[in-house]
């Protein structure tokens, strides 16, 4: 394969963001098509270079082909939509049914989420696994919050160790998820602004007290509903084909949920916190996208560098 052909196919592969199981077949099919056509064009008298140029022109731009492939494969079934929404539904039900203060139920939900995530992660990382993965970050968040209750100096020291480790772990997970598609990292992190919003609304000066429990009790139906709304958004996300619609859906749903939290907790969250939450929400959407851009840029430079070296050594 010539570097031009490799670059063409790589560019489609990069933008089509397919599951591994589908990727090999589609790329082989495109490659076979190009090889057939190039062979025919060279037999008609064109040079190899001219034939490839003509062929790639007639195949269509990589963006067009990749977008259409993405749209052919992106839509999940209703079963997948349900599977992706289940962790949000479970969390919603914990609060709607007021079971959140039973450690047994909370543990069962967390164990179920952890087991399902591990199963999905080791079985080809299907699209639904990323919304489950988001909730496995909760115990890490809980450990971080519990450090606030240590004596002051110990708390400071523990947080100094905890923060870089937790951030590094989160970074690694986002990088792994971004290998599939940055949009799944956003999907994974989507509950984060909602959880932060509710936590700030019920806790005084960032600490969870007995009074906070009473407030959680009071807000439980609204907390539950915000997770149910998230579940419905995610189901719609899975059923959508167009990428821009998916991104728009994630952005508006996050914005609306954060607005609702601020609206229902009137007096508990001020405008400053509202804008802070909006920033967190935009961060959830933008950080994975920017990270993917950065990592891909690095890979492209490495790829070009390899080609230049290969060309020089000829």
């Amino acid at each position: 394969m010539t570097p031009e052909l490799i670059q063409y196919l790589e560019s489609i592969r990069d933008s089509a963001r397919l599951e591994r199981a589908d990727e090999t077949g589609i790329m082989s099919e495109l490659e076979a098509h190009i090889q057939d056509k190039v062979r025919e064009l060279t037999q008609s008298g064109l040079t190899e270079e001219e034939a490839l140029k003509t062929c790639l022109g007639e195949m269509g731009g990589t963006r067009l082909v990749a977008r259409q492939i993405y749209e052919a494969y992106s839509q999940g079934s209703w079963k997948q939509a349900l599977l992706t929404s289940i962790p949000h539904l479970l969390f919603g039900l914990l609060f709607l049914l007021n079971w959140w203060h039973y450690p047994g139920w909370v543990s069962i939900v967390l164990m179920l989420i952890l087991a399902t995530t591990i199963y999905g992660w080791w079985h080809g990382k299907p699209n639904w696994v990323f919304s489950w993965l988001g909730y496995t970050l909760l115990p890490v968040l809980a450990v971080g919050l519990s450090l606030l209750y240590l004596p002051k100096l110990w708390s400071l020291l523990a947080l100094l160790v905890y923060f870089p480790m937790a951030l590094w772990w989160l970074f690694r997970i986002i990088v792994q998820t971004n290998k599939r598609d940055w949009i799944f990292s956003s999907l994974m992190l989507l509950p984060l602004p909602i959880l932060t919003g509710w936590f700030l609304a019920v806790s005084e000066s960032g600490k969870f007290t007995h009074y906070s429990l009473q407030i959680v009790n009071y807000f439980a139906p609204w907390i539950g509903l915000s997770f149910i709304a998230l579940a419905l958004t995610i189901a719609a996300f899975i059923r959508l084909r167009q990428r821009w619609l998916r991104v728009a859906l994630l952005a508006t749903s996050g914005l609306m949920t954060v607005t609702l939290i601020v609206h229902y907790t009137i007096g508990k969250l001020n405008t400053f916190t509202f804008f802070g939450l909006i920033l967190v929400m935009w961060g959830v959407l933008l950080v994975p996208a920017l990270l993917e851009r950065y990592l891909k840029g690095g890979r492209r430079i490495a790829w070009r560098h390899r080609n230049i070296i290969a060309h020089k050594s000829k």
């Binding site: 489609i12 077949g25 589609i26 082989s28 099919e29 495109l30 076979a32 098509h33 090889q35 057939d36 056509k37 007639e58 195949m59 269509g60 731009g61 067009l64 082909v65 259409q68 492939i69 749209e71 052919a72 494969y73």
Partner: protein
């Protein structure tokens, strides 16, 4: 005027099913067959054929199978399924009704006046 691309969009499924009804084909063969039979009218960006084929496959109207050629290369042949055949029959009759109606308007006969 309706762009040719839009006309193609609305009829691509019927065209692909119709070709595969006659014999199983692989992607490049479909492109050439479509171009030859339409005398060059149906020409499109060839890379976009595969998403269309895969959509049909996901709907269960066709199925694809890899086949190894004597020279060792592999090709994916597409076959029309029973579901695809009944869908094609339905679409053919819809097209026939549509064409008849368009013809009645574009070429009015003496009886219509």
């Amino acid at each position: 005027m309706v762009p040719r691309r839009d006309l193609m969009k609305g009829s691509s499924n019927s065209l692909l099913l119709s070709l595969l009804e006659q014999q199983p084909m692989y992607g490049y063969q479909i492109v050439k067959e479509l171009e030859a039979r339409s005398q060059g009218y149906f020409k499109f960006k060839e890379g976009t054929l595969y998403p269309a084929l895969h959509r049909l496959e996901k709907s269960g109207l066709i199925s694809g199978k890899w086949q190894k050629l004597p020279n060792g290369r592999q090709r994916r042949y597409y076959y029309i399924t029973a579901r695809g055949l009944s869908k094609l029959a339905l679409e053919k009759s819809q097209w026939q009704d549509f064409l008849t109606a368009v013809k009645l308007i574009l070429q009015p006969g003496p009886s219509s006046s």
